[in-house]
Amino acid sequence: MTVTEREQRLAQTFVALSDTLVDDFDVMNFLSLLTERAAELLDVTAVGVIVSDQRGGWHPAAASNEDVRLLELFASQTREGPCQDCIRDSAAAYSADLETDRARWPSFAESAAKAGFRAAAAVPMRLRRETIGALTLLNRNAVGVSQSDAELGQAFADVATVGILHQRAAARKETVSEQLQATLHHRVVIEQAKGVLAESGDLSMQNGFELLRDYARSNGQGLTDLAHSIADRTIDPHDLLTAYRLQQLSS
């Protein structure tokens, strides 16, 4: 991407994200779009939004790609790795080459290498003095993060924070806690819906997620609402699967 192309794409991305900030705003649509666009614009392989469960644990709430191994890797770096350091210090943490930084995060470096990643970074999602999560980036190539990429990464992290607060950035302190818990609850519903689709259509979990996401997008529906209707069976999973099969045939 040239600088101009990237600027145009960036402008489009922020317009697309702000378009989702409407009355029936769905945080999961928002975060899935944000992670995909962040991966593209920061030119990294994968992006994940990790949030606090407010019990001392940290979990991926959304990722640019829902590959099971990738999600595991995102989850593992909440114990050791750039994400953990970023949360502890409330500051960005980078490794341009995990191979040479092996001593810093031995177990994370090993699992990242196994999954084919060479570089990693985490940027804090901050609200006032609190760190509520981290935007984490993984790259297949050993490349450092430029100053402009770091700033853009922080901008995505800030926008993710605003999204989780449902536009109520200036709201009561309690709002943060309410919304973080709601986000994690939505995530559980999505996992249940993935299971329903995986079993009904003999799909992988990742394909189950992509089906949910794409169907929600093309029908202008909230990902959370759709997942809820699939998991409590008010929508027949075969409605989505039929659309999926037709799409497979035509592509």
Partner: protein, 248 residues
């Protein structure tokens, strides 16, 4: 870290590693979270003919708490119903400052003696089990470590209700607070295999784990990797068989 704290709180509620009782969780909330009272409303819908959740048992540490549970049901609004709608807790540090939010519930709740209200939905994804509702007679937020402990106690209340449903005690609760746990994906798969609700699927996973002395997490892993399938009601479950032996 989170697991240690969870274990500590759980150990304080039980003597022999058995599942905590809902009433014990309520009492612990009062002694531990600086609130005046705690109530849990259990929704019962197992076996109901698709009528949606019905209110079942109510556990409350005092009359104000039980009054608040009744009130929400009578007026059809309040923090616990909002908590179900959003999926997250509803935290009201000063009820008097926002009378418009619940025109029916708010004034009556103040009248009963509640100045601050904290409602936690007891859910596992789409499975709605009940709510934990705390009140304090003086306004003020619930923050920091106290709030974390409230979430952990809400997890224990969830465990207590599930235990009341099926009688299986399990100490492995890591999946309850882990949104990516395979238990959730497995519940989705098993509900399709059985043609049941997510709730029934979850209980069947637990009962299989109990019968085979496995953790729920291990059983879920077998289901997600398609080495275990659940079949009709009479037959608890079958190893994958032909389908499972194929290297998928």
């Amino acid at each position: 870290m989170a697991e240690d704290r969870r274990r500590q709180l759980r150990a304080a509620l039980t003597i022999d590693g058995s599942a905590p009782e809902v009433t014990a969780v309520c009492e612990r909330c009062v002694t531990h979270l600086s609130v005046s009272g705690a109530g849990v409303t259990v929704l019962s819908h197992i076996g109901a003919n698709g009528d949606g959740p019905q209110r079942g048992l109510v556990h409350a540490t005092n009359d104000v708490s039980s009054g608040l549970e009744d009130l929400q049901l009578t007026v059809g609004e309040g923090p616990c119903l909002d908590a179900f709608a959003t999926g997250g807790p509803v935290l009201i540090s000063d009820l008097a400052t926002d009378p418009a939010r619940w025109p029916g519930f708010g004034p009556a709740a103040l009248e009963l003696g509640a100045a601050a209200l904290f409602s936690f939905p007891l859910t596992i994804g789409v499975v709605r089990l009940g709510s934990l509702d705390l009140y304090r007679d003086a306004p003020g937020p619930m923050a920091g470590v106290t709030f974390s402990d409230a979430l952990l106690l809400a997890d224990l209340a969830t465990e207590a209700i599930v235990h009341d449903l099926d009688g299986h005690a399990t100490e492995d609760l890591s999946w309850l607070a882990n949104p990516h746990a395979e238990v959730h994906q497995a519940s989705g798969m098993v509900q399709v295999q059985l043609g049941s609700s997510t709730e029934v699927a979850l209980l069947r996973l637990r009962s299989y784990a109990y019968q085979h002395e496995l953790s729920v997490t291990e059983v879920a892993h077998q289901v997600v990797t398609r080495r275990l399938r659940f079949t009709g009601e009479d037959d608890p479950a079958q190893p994958g068989g032909e389908r499972g032996e194929r290297d998928r």
